[in-house]
Amino acid sequence: MVNRTEIMDHQVIAGQPVAVADLAPMIVARKVNVHYGAKQALFDVDVDVPRNAITAFIGPSGCGKSTFLRCINRMNDTIAICKVSGDITIDGQDIYDPDLDVVELRARVGMVFQKPNPFPKSIYENIAYGPRIHGLTRSKKELDDLVEECLEKAGLLKEVHDRLHEPGTGLSGGQQQRLCIARAIATRPEVILMDEPCSALDPIATAKVEELMEELKSNYTMIIVTHSMQQAARISQRTAFFHLGKLVEFGATRDIFTNPQDKRTQDYITGRFG
């Protein structure tokens, strides 16, 4: 069980404004290789994901960016034929350590998926589920407050405050995705992984989600996989370009988009393939 006050303290510290240039690495990946059966999906990927910033993973379909994202909360464990090797550490802790509890890891590393996937339960239950199974609150009142806080942070409270007990699946696509973000932050994670969170949303809903990410950035380390280069350019501080399972280029977003070092990166961002 995670100590609540500890997390609060951490968030206050994390809330201090940090300059992009001296972002400290939080998630460090070294020589990550992933195989699906006989097929290799990732080749020796090295990435340092900075704390309290948005890192974007871009690249053509099938380049391995989602695969790498799913290594960070060990979602790939659910695929029987998937084998991950290499080191990934979060704050120095090896997440593939056999002694590490994967359930706790997933509570610390939240995830938002491509298609909004609220549970077919009420809005309240969607958010309360995570804290409840991890025992993060001691009373009904605390849980109610937490649900409200998460909805507020996700910018959804005003829209749904009078129908908390109606099904989450009755919301619009954009609202559902923000509900999923609220659900992800309810377990008080340090990292939020987003796998193409806006690909099923219209431009207005996309703008709202991006705005939300901007706000959450000060408290959470976020990684977003996206097919939209404009989105990566708009919201991220770091960008990683993947191609054919290899990390081609990784650096400050501005540099990647204005002065790419690799020919493949340049071709991709200028729309010559992908």
């Binding site: 549970f119 077919p120 589920y129 992800a184």
Partner: protein
Amino acid sequence: MTVNATATPAAAPPLPRLNDPARLRVRYVAEARFRIYGVVALAIALSFLVGLFASIISNGWSAFLQSNYELPVYLDPAEIDPDGKRDTSRFNLADYTAMARNAMAKSLGLPDKLDRATKRDLKGLLSRAVDVQIRDTVVADPDLIGKTVKIDLLAHGNVDSLLKGAIDRSIPEARRQLNDRQLQWIDKLVADGVLHKRFNTGLFTYGASSQPESSGLAVALIGSLFMMATVMVLAVPIGVAAAAYLEEFAPKNFLTDLIEVNINNLAAVPSIVFGLLGLAVFINFAGLPRSASLVGGLVLALMTLPTVIIATRAAIRAVPPSIREAALGVGASKMQTLFHHVLPLAFPGIMTGTIIGLVQALGETAPLLMIGMVAFVVDIPGSVMEPATALPVQIYMWATSAERGFVERTAGATIVLLAFLFVMNAAAVYLRRKFERTW
């Protein structure tokens, strides 16, 4: 087309037009023909179904009515309790049929002293079960001895058939089940309001009997109930657990592939084979009693298990993976994901599959024949270890009896069985509708 026309000489035929009326007509006709085939197929299937139901119901509805005499019977103390000790075991020795016969003679206005032929003819109007009916009345309340009590007495199967129009009065007396004098008496009794048809509660309260009028489905109903309970208790939890393990936890390897193939094969094994297995394992090896509904339930549970497993696996597989990812993503363990999200969403499918499995088991006859549940069981079983029969087996047994009354009861029992199947199927549909969720 113009380019084409200039490139090749005028001899080349023009390309077919997209909206060529001839082709269009051919397509429309083909579509209309296909629709007609469909409607005809449906109509044939429906007409079979309607024919089946019409035949069963027209044959069987009269089984729910039974002819009874309402006769004032003098409970003669000299015959029932000559010592005046009110000894219940002594009650069994009395000739109650004679009392019923005398009551009927009195009601018909016949003289007190009857000749043998008259006695025989009167007896032919009464069911052999009246003996038991009067005795039960006396045993229930011995204070009635010495009084004249109005008792409902079962009419003989032939009388019942006559009243239901199944015996033709016009055929010659020698070949008729009832003679002319008996017909006269019956008409008089009907006119006096002594003999009349009532709802046949006996169909649901009597056990096996050699007379149609006193045989009922009680043993079969209780036996079927016990067996369904056994199947529910065994097949549902085992089936759901096996399916959940195979679907969510088991590694995909040669062994699980083999298990999967075998489960699918088991579902297709003829039911008589399960009966043989039950005979060999449960009765010969484990030493369970023959004809017991426990053994029947075990055999049917084995038979239903593959159906439940297959239905549950299908229902679990139909739960979208995004729900599992969502649950795993907030840090639910595999088991929490299964119990909090996957199984509740799969519940309607599991219920439907289970009920369909139960319906199959309820209508199953062959394996029960193997384990001796085709038996003449008079006493209603009080536990799963006592001999019993099952609804479809009872239908089978009645269908092999020649009397007109049994023919009617065969159809009547079929209606009861179909009613159960209908109710269970309706329950499956209702549960599916009620618990089905959209996501």
